[in-house]
């Protein structure tokens, strides 16, 4: 099939070229119309006529001529406009009181000009479309031409521009100082400057190019002077922070209102921030009165918030804040430390017993915790709970807390006091809060092993003497330790609790079995001594608890009998376990008949056999040596026990001959029949209550800790090497430090010593060629 197509040709209409169009005639029409438009008399004009006239000129190839004529016409008009401002610009150039009027006038001329340009543009639309092409070589579109002409013939670069900029800066300054100004006019004029391009090729606005720098310089100068005045005056950092922050906020708001953020004002605000905050604030915050804690104590929360905002603006990562916090906390902390140390020194000079040390420990920890709580509140309330800031604060605490030589002991003593007294009458929430801040302090300690040592000893005494106010609080604290330092850290504490619980169960069984035995075999005349035993596993409890207890206490027959029964019961119930008695722990309740009345006396365990010796001797005396022989108590201990029952005024159950303050080995003792006391129940104090260590004891503790540290380091090295087989020295030291971080910070020389001892014992071998390399020798 064949396709045939017949194409119809569209012929271009033949243009009627009437060469009869005269430029002069046409232009006359257009020019007069433009004048009318500029004089606001455009209503009688015929758009159709004007459009056709300009159209005809264009199609008669007279575009260039027309374009130039339009340009000339507008220029001439704008020259007149500019001349109209002469009264301000030329005559009264220094009288800025006329400025508002000037701006108002300019604003009006500007909006007129824009209207005119728009209307002229509409009339000349065809010229615009054909003659003004979108490339750089062609003349600008009429709308742009209007801007260029306004720039060149009104604003210019001469006296008019100078005057305009001066007026604007002045008006903005007046506004800044709180005077009433016509903000709308200012805004319009500014946006005019923003619309005017710098030149045909440079699209940057006149505002940015010519005005912005002047405005920024003027503003910065103003504020720099204001800041200087501020610091010359009262030098108060609080005032400075508040003012500067206010200024910056003002300027930000202003720039937003004038819609200048992106062009002229943003360098202004950032410039100001650099000048007033980044460079000046560190200096200001070194002045007296810049202590953040004092601001807090004076309840200057808003000011602190302002400070935080200001620092956030002026410093990357808020470096200044971190620096300030660290410096201030460490310096305050060191004040606390030295106050504590000099109090210790004073106490030592006055030979006050270590009981006062406990009070000092309590004071120091309380001070530290108060400070910590305060900073916690500051960060929560004023610093946005900034994680990095919290970290810096913690680091500062770690730094000074560990500079206190007794931090581990003091915190443990503080807790001891909490558990025995201070938590009394506190609500659950209060207790939880106290425990939380206690654990925070615990987290600051680098030598956690030292703390463990003290805590074990103190906890042990609390548990054995039932001195804790609340089991629940004890357990809560331990579970918090567990969260903070891991299960290995608390396993011994938990073991101690378990022992106490098991002991109670065990005693229940013992009582039952004993009742049945007694019923069967024992003669009814035998007096029955109640016995309660605490069963402590050697691995959990601190060795210090049994210190000086390696003697066998000889009880009275009835008590010995009870003890024996328990031993029999226990070995039957748990074969293979070894029981060891710790004679200097525990208490005994005895009822004693004095001349006046009975008293129930609670005495430390070793005092019981001493008193029982006087049961049937009447008014005969017993010598020190006989007491020693019959009880088996070592002489120094015996002296102290006798002191508490024959010298201490409130519990003088025995009389001593001769009467003196000290107990001597030549003394004779009598039963004090005439003893009387207001209460029926009396308590004879144990000779070792919880208290701070003496220096000698502390040294011993340190030696012991150092030794166990060496074992731990050894073990850590072996663990690491076992899994890595070959490792270089630095990595080995790093790994070991990491493994032990939750316990303590091992000093490098100590690690080196341990490595050397392992080399000697041939667990490790140094590489023959690379002397920094170690091999594990299985």
């Amino acid at each position: 099939m064949k396709m045939t197509t017949q194409r119809g040709k569209i012929k271009a209409p033949r243009a009627k070229t009437s060469s009869s169009v005269s430029f002069d005639k046409s232009w006359e029409i257009l020019a007069s119309a433009m004048t009318k438009i500029q004089d606001h008399e455009s209503s009688p004009l015929s758009f159709e006529l004007l459009y056709r006239t300009s159209y005809q000129l264009v199609i008669s190839k007279m575009s260039a001529q027309l374009y130039d004529a339009v340009k000339c016409h507008i220029s001439a008009h704008l020259d007149k406009v500019q001349a109209g401002f002469d009264p301000y610009v030329v005559v009264a150039r220094d009288d800025l009181s006329l400025a508002p009027k000037f701006l108002e006038g300019l604003n009006k001329q500007w909006s007129d000009h824009q209207t005119c340009t728009k209307m002229i543009g509409d009339v000349m639309m065809y010229l615009d479309r054909v003659y003004c092409l979108d490339n750089t070589s062609s003349p600008p579109k009429l709308a742009d031409l209007g801007l260029h002409l306004f720039r060149d013939h009104v604003v210019g670069t001469g006296p008019f521009a100078e005057y305009l900029y001066k007026v604007l800066i002045n008006e903005i300054q007046r506004e800044r100082e709180g005077e009433m100004v016509d903000r709308i006019v200012i805004k319009n004029v500014l946006s005019m400057l923003d619309l005017l391009p710098q030149s045909k090729s440079n699209k940057e606005s006149v505002l940015v190019h010519c005005f912005s720098d002047q405005l920024v310089a003027a503003t910065t100068n103003f504020y720099s002077q204001a800041a200087r005045d501020l610091l010359d005056g009262n030098k108060d950092p609080v005032v400075y922070v508040t003012k500067v922050s206010g200024w910056l906020e003002d300027e930000e708001k202003r720039s937003k209102y004038y819609a200048l953020e992106s062009q002229a004002y943003s360098p202004l605000v950032s410039d100001l921030t650099v000048k007033l905050v980044s460079t000046k604030l560190p200096e200001v915050m070194a002045l007296p009165g810049s202590e953040i804690r004092k601001w807090y104590q004076a309840k200057k929360f808003d000011e602190l918030k302002t400070l935080y905002r200001l620092i956030s603006k002026g410093f990357p990562q808020r470096s200044l804040l971190h620096h300030l916090l660290k410096e201030q906390i460490v310096s305050e902390g060191q004040n606390l430390n030295s106050a504590s140390n000099s109090a210790v020194e004073a106490a030592r000079k006055e030979k006050k017993p270590s009981a006062q040390q406990t009070a000092l420990a309590h004071k120091w920890v309380t001070d530290v915790l108060t400070m910590r709580d305060e900073f916690a509140e500051i960060t929560a309330k004023c610093f946005d709970n900034d994680v990095e800031v919290v970290k810096s604060i913690d680091e500062a605490f770690v730094e000074f807390v560990n500079k206190h030589a007794r931090v581990a002991e003091y915190l443990s003593l503080y807790i001891d006091n909490l558990m025995k007294k201070a938590l009394k009458g506190k609500s659950d929430e209060e207790v939880a809060a106290i425990l939380d801040s206690t654990v925070a302090c615990f987290n600051f300690i680098t030598d956690k092993d030292r703390f463990e040592n003290y805590y074990k000893a103190h906890l042990g005494k609390r548990l054995l003497n039932s001195k804790s106010l609340s089991d629940d609080a004890e357990r809560q604290l331990i579970s918090r330790f567990k969260m903070a330092a891991g299960g290995a850290f608390t396993s011994k504490f938990e073991g101690m609790f378990k022992d106490i619980a098991t002991s109670a169960d065990e005693m229940e069984f013992f009582r039952k079995s004993r009742a049945s035995i007694t019923a069967d075999s024992e003669p009814s005349s035998a007096k029955k001594v109640e016995l309660t035993v605490a069963l402590l596993s050697g691995t959990y409890w601190p060795t210090s608890i049994a210190q000086g207890a390696n003697y066998t206490l000889i009880h009275c027959a009835d008590a010995e009998n009870a003890k024996e029964q328990f031993e029999q019961y226990y070995s039957k119930a748990h074969s293979g376990r070894k029981l060891e008695w710790v004679p200097n722990l525990g208490n005994a309740d005895i009822r004693i008949k004095f001349k006046k009345k009975f008293h129930d006396v609670n005495v430390p365990n070793p005092v019981m056999p001493i008193l029982m010796l006087f049961q049937d001797v009447g008014d005969q005396s017993i010598s020190f040596h006989r007491i020693q022989m019959e009880t088996g108590i070592p002489i120094p201990d015996l002296k102290r026990h006798l002191q508490s029952v024959s010298v201490a005024p409130k519990t003088r159950l025995l009389k001593k001959v001769p009467m003196s303050k000290d107990v001597n080995e030549t003394d004779e003792f009598f039963f004090n029949e005439n003893f009387e006391a207001p209460m029926t129940k009396i308590r004879v104090l144990a000779i070792n209550a919880t208290r701070a260590e003496t220096d000698v004891e502390r040294d011993a503790t340190m030696v012991q800790i150092d030794k166990s540290r060496q074992n731990e380091i050894d073990a850590a090295i072996v663990r690491v090497m076992k899994s890595r087989k070959t490792l270089n020295h630095n990595n080995l030291v790093g790994e070991v430090t990491k493994q032990l971080a939750s316990r303590f910070k091992p000093p490098i020389p100590t690690i080196k010593h341990c490595i050397e001892s392992l080399l000697e014992r041939e667990y490790l071998r140094r590489d023959d060629n690379d002397t920094t390399l170690f091999h594990y020798e299985a």
Partner: protein, 240 residues
């Protein structure tokens, strides 16, 4: 008989192929489970040394009862080598002949050690001793081997660490003229350190001498580095 014939054949094959003696061939075959190829390889790759010469030297000084050169034999032997007991070359001899401890040589290491470097006769050994002495004048790799050997050589049975006095004597013997700060080191050890010397300390002193030669001011010394603590203490001592 059939079996031994087969073995004799294999031995002969190895002997003709390698040109070695019957005993060498048999030893190699026995060692490698009568695999002829491996045995031939082994013989060709093992330098053949004649042990008989060195053996004769050993026989001359040995104590017939124990088949060892004992203390008296050693003194005689050292003298015959033209050495005195107080010279460091003796330690090179001890290392070469694999002496297990002071005043003792056993046959196997003695014979093999000397034979391996051509010490078949006493004069040959004397010549070798002279070259030992020459190579022991500076801190070089050969000397380091002798230095390291000395520690184990000096340890007596059951000893784990070297008594300080012994260490000091031998440092003086080995290092005089080689370590310029020897006096300082010895006074540090005797007056300050005052402990016995571990093998690691002994070996690492050598590394430290090399280090100190390169950096006499010890500026680049890093006490957190892999140096043993005795060297740390020594550096502190030097810096005071």
């Amino acid at each position: 008989m059939v079996r031994s014939d087969w073995r004799a054949q294999e031995i002969r094959r190895v002997m003709t192929f390698t040109g070695s003696k019957e005993k060498t061939a048999r030893d190699a075959l026995e060692k490698f489970d009568w695999n002829v190829e491996v045995a031939i390889d082994h013989i060709l790759n093992t330098p053949q040394v004649d042990l008989s010469g060195a053996s004769k030297v050993f026989d001359k000084y040995r104590n017939a009862d124990s088949d060892e050169i004992d203390l008296d034999g050693t003194i005689q032997y050292i003298t015959d080598l033209g050495l005195s007991l107080e010279e460091p070359t003796v330690l090179a001899v001890a290392m070469t002949a694999g002496s297990p401890s002071v005043g003792t040589f056993t046959r196997k290491p003695f014979v093999e050690g000397w034979a391996a470097i051509g010490g078949d006769t006493l004069p040959a050994q004397q010549k070798l001793c002279r070259s030992f002495a020459e190579s022991m004048t500076s801190l070089n790799a050969d000397f380091q081997k002798i230095y390291k050997f000395t520690y184990g050589f000096l340890l007596q049975e059951g000893q784990r660490v070297l008594p300080q006095e012994t260490a000091v004597d031998y440092w003086r013997l080995l290092l005089t003229g080689k370590y310029e700060h020897l006096d300082k080191w010895l006074s540090f050890v005797t007056e300050k350190y005052k402990r016995n010397i571990s093998r690691d300390a002994w070996n690492m002193l050598y590394e430290f001498m090399l280090f100190q030669a390169k950096d006499p001011s010890l500026e680049s010394y890093d006490e957190d580095g892999a140096w043993p603590s005795v060297i740390d203490e020594y550096v502190e001592f030097l810096k005071e």
